[in-house]
C-alpha cells in the first residue's frame, strides 16, 4: 500500500500538470488552431508512425493515422467523398493521386515550399492538387539461398528473364488492383513493350507467378523467407529487407529500363483540419522532413533539394520515361483487364 502523503502528492502533481497543460498556448504557430490531423498513410507502418511522432513533437498537433495500401486508400477516399474523414493523404504512387484528382477529391494548395522541389515539372501537379514527396525505382529481389541451391541460375536482369522456365511458379508480385507497386510494374511493361506486345508478355509472365499479394512490398518479405524465388518490388523496400531484416536477398534491375514511382501527397477536399493539413504539407516538402526517411527505414529518394541520398545507387539505373498521366488515366481499364483476362485465365494455377 502507498502511504497517504504519497497519494496526496501524486494527486497534487497531477492537478498541477493539468493546470499547466490547460494554461499552455495552443501551438507554436498562432494561426493554426487545429489540434489534430487525420492522416491517411500509404507507405510502410514504421515510417508513418515515425513521421507522426516527428510532426507531433515539432508542432504539438496530434496526428491520427491509419495505414492503407494505395488501392485501399483510393477506394476509401472515393467512398467518403461527401463526408471526408481524412485531412491529408501522404504517400503512395501518384497514379492514385491523379485518379483522385480526376474524381475531384483533392484540394489545391499553393505551398510556399514548392520552391524546394528538385524537378517541379515532374513532381508537382499543374493545378497544385498533389505533389511528389519521394521517388523509388522498381527492382527484382532474388533469394540468394535459392540461387545457391540452383547453380547455373542467375538473378533476372531483364523483364524477359522472368519468362525463363526456371522461374516458373517462383515469381511473386502484388496484385495491381490493390498495390501501387504492382501497377507501376504493369504500366512499365506496357510502356517498354507497347500495349499490344505488353499484354501478351504479361499473360506469359502471370503464368510464372506463384501468388499475387495484396501489398506491394510483401513479395520482398516472402521471397526473403523463401516462399518464392523472385519478387518484383520497389528497390528501396528490398534494401530495407536486406539491411534491417537481414533477409537473404539480391537486388537486380532490368537492363532495358525500369519504371519508378513518385510518392504523392494531397490535401482532401473538405478536410476538417485544413490548417493542420497545410502545415503537414509544407513540412513534408522541407529537406528536414524528407531527410527523416532512413531513420525510419524508408530509403526512397527525396524530391526536395538539400537532402543527401541514403542509397543513391537506386536511382542511378536505367529509368524509363514513365508517363504518369497516361498510367493514372488508364488505371481502371488496365486493372480491370488484368483482373479479368490474366488472373482468372485458366493457365494460372497454383
Amino acid at each position: 500500500m502507498y502511504s497517504k502523503s504519497f497519494v496526496k502528492w501524486v494527486v497534487i502533481a497531477l492537478l498541477a500538470v493539468m493546470v499547466l497543460a490547460a494554461c499552455q498556448p495552443a501551438a507554436e504557430t498562432p494561426v493554426v488552431t487545429d489540434t489534430e490531423l487525420n492522416l491517411l498513410c500509404t507507405p510502410q507502418e514504421e515510417w508513418c508512425q515515425g513521421m507522426k511522432q516527428e510532426f507531433e513533437a515539432k508542432y504539438g498537433i496530434t496526428v491520427n493515422y491509419v495505414r492503407m495500401s494505395s488501392g485501399e486508400a483510393l477506394a476509401r477516399v472515393n467512398a467518403e467523398k461527401d463526408n471526408p474523414q481524412f485531412d491529408i493523404w501522404w504517400g503512395g504512387p501518384i497514379d492514385s493521386f491523379i485518379s483522385a484528382k480526376e474524381s475531384g477529391l483533392l484540394e489545391p494548395y499553393d505551398s510556399p515550399n514548392y520552391a524546394n522541389l528538385v524537378d517541379p515539372a515532374k513532381t508537382k501537379d499543374a493545378d497544385n492538387q498533389w505533389v511528389g514527396i519521394y521517388m523509388g525505382s522498381l527492382g527484382f529481389a532474388t533469394n540468394t539461398d535459392w540461387l545457391a541451391a540452383n547453380p547455373g541460375v542467375e538473378a533476372p536482369t531483364s523483364w524477359d528473364d522472368l519468362l525463363k522456365p526456371e522461374f516458373k511458379g517462383q515469381i511473386m508480385v502484388a496484385h495491381p488492383s490493390s498495390s501501387g507497386t504492382s501497377y507501376t510494374a504493369l504500366a512499365t511493361i506496357l510502356q517498354i513493350k507497347g500495349e499490344e506486345a505488353g499484354w501478351e508478355f504479361i499473360k506469359q509472365y502471370a503464368a510464372q507467378v506463384s501468388q499475387f499479394t495484396k501489398s506491394g512490398a510483401a513479395p520482398a518479405k516472402f521471397v526473403g523467407q523463401g516462399e518464392a524465388a523472385v519478387g518484383i518490388v520497389f528497390s528501396h523496400d528490398i534494401v530495407n529487407e536486406i539491411d534491417n531484416n537481414k533477409l537473404p536477398l539480391k537486388l537486380t534491375f532490368p537492363a532495358e529500363g525500369t519504371g519508378y514511382e513518385i510518392g504523392g501527397m494531397g490535401i482532401m477536399k473538405g478536410a476538417k483540419h485544413i490548417q493542420a493539413a497545410k502545415l503537414w504539407f509544407d513540412w513534408a516538402l522541407t529537406a528536414e522532413a524528407q531527410a527523416l526517411g532512413p531513420t525510419y527505414k524508408a530509403y526512397q529518394a527525396p524530391t526536395v533539394k538539400g537532402v543527401t541520398l541514403s542509397h543513391p545507387e537506386l536511382m542511378e539505373v536505367n529509368l524509363i520515361d514513365y508517363d504518369f498521366q497516361w498510367a493514372g488515366t488508364n488505371k481502371k481499364a488496365f486493372v480491370e483487364r488484368f483482373t479479368n483476362e490474366i488472373v482468372s485465365a485458366d493457365n494460372l494455377k497454383q
Binding site: M18, A21, A22, T35, E45, E46, C48, Q53, E56, A57, G60, I61, T62, N64, Y65, V66, R67, M68, S69, G71, E72, L74, A75, R76, N78, A79, E80, N83, Q85, K168, G169, Q170, H175, S178, V209, S210, T213, K214, S215, A217, A218, G224, Q225, G226, E227, N245, K246, L247, P248, K332, V335, T339, N340, V343, S344, A345, D346, L348, K349, Q350
Partner: protein, 755 residues
C-alpha cells in the same frame, strides 16, 4: 440449440386477425417498458441490419449514375468474364462444402471421444477444442504458413523439402480447407457434444440387449438421432466458411473466393456496384442455408431442451474404437497446440524462416505503434459487450415470452446480421452511413414521436399538441446554427426538472432530469474535459505513453459525445420514463413537449446518422455481429424456465418490468454471462465487418494484422494475434471468476448455450 417457436397460429378470418392485432398492440402499449424494448430492438435492427443489407443488395442493380444496370450479374453468363466468375463461385462452394465436412467430422471425433470414450484429460481437451474460437480468425493461417509454407519450419527444416515448381504447396484450396476446418470445428464440437450428452441411452441399450451389433446400433440408432446435430453443424460451418475473409486472403494463394473477391472489388477497383452484385451472389446461398438450418433442421431436433443429461451415458466398450477416437482427438489437439505455440514463438523470432533467434524487437514495435489499435479495439469491444448482451437478452425475452405480430421477423433479422458475411454488412454500413438520406432520420424520429405521444398524451388533442409543437420547435432549433446547442438542450432538461418538481413527481425523477441535462451539456465540454489529457500526451516524449494517453482522451469523448441521432433515440425513452403519469393536464403536455423537443432537435442536427469515421459505427457493427449468440443464449435459457413462475408474479400484481427484474433476470444470468463472453470474443476477433470502418482515429487490431502481415512481417502480425488471444482469455477468466463468486458454484457458465 433447438428453438421451438410458440407462435399462435392465426386461423381466423382477416377481419378478426386485424382486430386481434390492434388489441394486442394496445395491450402492449399499456406496458411502456415492454413496448419500449420492442421498439428499441426493432429500431436498432432496422437501422443497423435491415437498411445496410438492403443498401448493399440493391447497390448491385444500379450503376454509378443511378440507372438500372445488370452488368455484373450478366458477367456470369458471358464468355469473356464468365469462366473466371463462375470459377470463383464454384471454388467458394467447394471451400464451404469441404470445410463444413471437415469441421463437422473433427467436431464429431472430439464430441464422441469426450462423451463416450472417457478420454483421459477430458477437461484439457475440452478447452483445447474451444481454443480456435478465441483467436483472430486468420491467426491459424499465419501459423500454417509459418509451419508448412514453402520455407515453413516443418516443410523446410524438419522434412527437408525444398519447393520446386509444380509441387503442391500450402497455398490454395487444400491449405484453406485445413485451416478453416481447424478454425471452425469448435462450433461443431459444441453442438455435437451437447447432443450426444443429451441422447437418451435407453434405445441403444434396448437394441444392444436385443442382440444388435455395435455398427448396426451406430448406423441405425445413434447416427439417425444425431442427424439434426450433424446437419445443423454442417450448415452452420458452411455459412461460417463462406463468410470468412481473413483465411482466404492469407492462404488461398491464387484461388479467389467470393468474400475475397468482394473485398478486392472494394479496395482494388473501388467499384461498389461490383461488390454489391457479388454480395448478392454470396448472400443467396448463405441465406438459403441459414433458413434451412433455422426452420428445418432445428424443428427436427429429437431432444428436449429442458431435459438434463439423462441418467447414465453409453460408454464405448471396444478398446479399438475408443482409442481410435481418443488418439485422433489427441493428434488434433497436438496440432492445435503446435499452431498456437507457433504464433506465440513467431512473435519473438528475429526473422521467421531465416533467423529464429528470440528477440523482443517486434513487441517493442507493436507497443509503440500498435498501442492505439490495441486500446481502441479493447475499449470498443468492451463497451459494445454489455449492450450486445442486454439487447440480445431483451430480444430473446420478447421472442420467447411475448406474442406480437412481427415476432418471427424480429427473431429472424436479429440473427441475420451475424449470419451474413461481414464484408457485406461493412459495405452496407459505408454506403448507408456516409451520407445517409434524411428519410432514415425522419422514419426513426416519426416512429419514436408517435409512440411518445401515444404513451404520454392521454387523448387525441394532447397527442396532437405534443407532436406538433415539439416537432416544429425541435426542427427549428436544429436548423438554428448554434455552437452551444447542447447547453441549450441541457437547460431544457433543467426546465423539465422544474416542471417535474412542480408536478410533485418525486425526487428521483427530478434528479434524473437534472443528470440527463448535465450529461447532454457535457457534450459541449467534452473538448475541455479531454483537452488536458490530450495536452498531457502532446507534451510527453513521443512513444508508448503519449499514444496511449491520447487514446484515453478520445475514449472519454466517445462516452460523452454520442452521435446526436443515436442520443436522440435514448432520450426519447428517457423522456417517457420522466414524464409518464403526470396528472395535471397542462404540466403533462408542457413536459411532454419539452421531452420530445429535445430528441427532435438532436435527430435533425447536422447530417443525421452520418456515422462513418467514428467509434459508434464500429460499436454498432460489433453489436450486430455478436447479437445472434446473445439472442440464442437467451432463448435457450428462457425456454428452460417455466413461464408459470413469471405468470405467478404477474398475477400477484407485478408489471412486466418488475417481473423481469426480480424473477426472470436472476434465472437467466448465467446465459447473460455466456452471452457477454461470446460477444466480447466475437468483437475482439472480428475482421470482415469492420475492415471498411476503421479510421485514422479508430484503428482495429484485426485490420492492423492484415496490413502488417504483408508490410511489417509475420512476426508483428503474430505479436498482434498473441495480444488478442491473451486479452480474450483474460476477459473470459475474469468473467468466469466473477460469475463463480456470484453464483458460488451453482449454475456455472455453459459456453455451448450460445450456439
Amino acid at each position: 440449440m433447438a428453438e421451438s417457436e410458440t407462435t399462435v397460429k392465426v386461423t381466423s378470418t382477416k377481419f378478426t386477425g386485424l382486430t386481434r392485432r390492434y388489441r394486442e398492440f394496445s395491450l402492449i402499449a399499456r406496458d411502456p417498458v415492454l413496448f419500449m424494448s420492442l421498439l428499441f430492438s426493432g429500431i436498432f435492427i432496422t437501422v443497423f441490419v435491415v437498411v445496410p443489407l438492403f443498401r448493399t443488395i440493391s447497390g448491385g442493380f444500379f450503376n454509378a449514375e443511378g440507372a438500372f444496370d445488370l452488368t455484373y450479374f450478366g458477367r456470369y453468363f458471358d464468355d469473356y468474364f464468365g469462366p473466371g466468375m463462375r470459377r470463383v463461385f464454384f471454388d467458394t462452394m467447394t471451400m464451404g462444402l469441404l470445410a463444413a465436412t471437415g469441421g463437422t467430422l473433427v467436431g464429431f471425433i472430439f464430441a464422441y471421444a469426450l462423451v463416450r470414450c472417457r478420454i483421459p484429460g477430458s477437461k484439457v481437451i475440452h478447452w483445447l477444442a474451444l481454443l480456435p474460437t478465441v483467436s483472430p480468425p486468420f491467426a491459424l493461417s499465419l501459423a500454417m504458413i509459418l509451419l508448412f509454407g514453402r520455407s515453413g519450419v516443418i516443410t523446410r527444416r524438419v522434412l527437408g523439402i525444398t519447393y520446386v515448381q509444380g509441387m503442391n504447396d500450402i497455398y490454395g484450396m487444400d491449405g484453406l480447407v485445413i485451416v478453416q476446418t481447424i478454425t471452425f470445428f469448435s462450433v461443431a464440437y459444441l453442438i455435437l457434444h451437447a447432443m450426444l450428452e443429451r441422447l437418451n441411452p435407453a434405445m441403444e441399450e434396448a437394441a444392444a440387449s436385443l442382440g444388435a451389433s455395435r455398427f448396426h446400433i451406430f448406423f441405425t440408432i445413434t447416427l439417425p438421432l444425431l442427424i439434426p446435430g450433424i446437419a445443423g453443424s454442417f450448415l452452420l460451418l458452411f455459412v461460417e466458411s463462406l463468410a470468412d475473409l481473413g483465411n482466404p486472403l492469407f492462404i488461398a494463394g491464387n484461388r479467389t473466393v467470393l468474400s475475397a473477391q468482394i473485398f478486392l472489388a472494394v479496395i482494388g477497383e473501388y467499384d461498389y456496384q461490383k461488390a454489391s452484385a457479388l454480395s448478392l451472389v454470396l448472400i443467396i446461398p448463405t441465406l438459403l442455408i441459414f433458413l434451412v438450418q433455422r426452420y428445418y433442421v432445428n424443428r427436427r431436433a429429437y431432444i428436449s431442451v429442458t431435459g438434463k443429461p439423462s441418467g447414465s451415458q453409453v460408454v464405448e466398450k471396444s478398446p479399438v474404437i475408443r482409442w481410435g477416437f481418443n488418439v485422433a482427438a489427441y493428434v488434433i489437439c497436438g496440432f492445435v497446440i503446435l499452431l498456437y505455440a507457433t504464433i506465440i514463438y513467431g512473435s519473438f523470432s528475429e526473422a521467421w524462416g531465416v533467423d529464429f533467434t528470440p528477440t523482443l524487437r517486434h513487441w517493442q514495435l507493436i507497443l509503440t505503434r500498435g498501442v492505439e489499435a490495441i486500446l481502441d479495439t479493447t475499449f470498443l469491444s468492451a463497451l459494445a459487450t454489455p449492450f450486445a448482451a442486454i439487447l440480445g437478452m431483451a430480444i430473446a425475452w420478447l421472442v420467447v415470452r411475448k406474442n406480437f405480430s412481427g415476432k418471427q421477423a424480429l427473431d429472424f433479422t436479429s440473427n441475420l446480421g451475424g449470419a451474413v458475411p461481414g464484408t457485406i454488412l461493412g459495405i452496407g454500413y459505408v454506403m448507408t452511413f456516409n451520407k445517409p438520406s434524411i428519410a432514415l432520420a425522419i422514419g426513426v424520429y416519426g416512429l419514436l414521436a408517435l409512440f411518445f405521444a401515444q404513451v404520454v398524451g392521454k387523448n387525441v388533442r394532447d397527442r396532437l399538441v405534443i407532436l406538433g409543437l415539439a416537432t416544429a420547435a425541435g426542427v427549428g432549433l436544429a436548423q438554428a446554427p448554434s455552437p452551444t446547442i447542447y447547453t441549450v438542450i441541457g437547460l431544457l432538461y433543467f426546465v423539465l426538472a422544474g416542471i417535474l418538481a412542480v408536478a410533485r413527481q418525486g425526487r428521483l425523477r427530478v434528479i434524473l432530469a437534472v443528470m440527463a441535462g448535465i450529461y447532454v451539456m457535457s457534450n459541449d465540454w467534452a473538448a475541455a474535459i479531454a483537452a488536458p489529457i490530450a495536452n498531457l500526451s502532446r507534451n510527453m516524449e513521443r512513444g508508448f505513453w503519449s499514444n496511449a494517453i491520447f487514446q484515453l482522451s478520445d475514449q472519454i469523448k466517445v462516452l460523452i459525445q454520442p452521435p446526436p441521432s443515436l442520443l436522440a433515440i435514448a432520450l426519447v425513452f428517457a423522456g417517457i420514463l420522466l414524464t409518464l403519469g403526470i396528472r395535471q393536464r397542462g404540466l403533462r403536455v408542457g413536459s411532454g413537449v419539452i421531452a420530445l423537443l429535445i430528441p427532435c432537435t438532436l435527430s435533425f442536427m447536422d447530417v443525421p446518422f452520418s456515422l462513418v469515421g467514428g467509434a459508434y459505427i464500429i460499436l454498432a457493427a460489433y453489436m450486430v455481429r455478436s447479437l445472434p449468440a446473445s439472442v440464442r443464449a437467451g432463448v435457450a435459457s428462457l425456454q428452460q424456465i417455466d413461464p408459470s413462475i413469471e405468470e405467478a408474479s404477474n398475477i400477484l400484481g407485478a408489471d412486466a418490468q418488475y417481473t423481469f427484474r426480480k424473477v426472470t433476470l436472476p434465472l437467466i444470468l448465467p446465459a447473460l454471462v455466456s452471452g457477454l463472453i461470446f460477444s466480447f470474443t466475437r468483437h475482439m476477433t472480428s475482421l470482415s465487418a469492420i475492415i471498411f470502418l476503421v479510421s485514422a482515429r479508430w484503428r482495429i487490431v484485426a485490420a492492423s494484422i492484415l496490413s502488417e502481415w504483408e508490410q511489417g512481417g509475420v512476426s508483428i502480425a503474430a505479436a498482434y494475434s498473441t495480444v488478442i488471444i491473451i486479452f480474450v482469455l483474460a476477459a473470459i477468466g475474469i468473467l468466469s471468476l466473477v460469475t463463480n463468486r456470484v453464483f458460488r458454484g451453482r449454475g456455472g457458465v455453459d459456453l455451448s448455450i450460445g450456439l
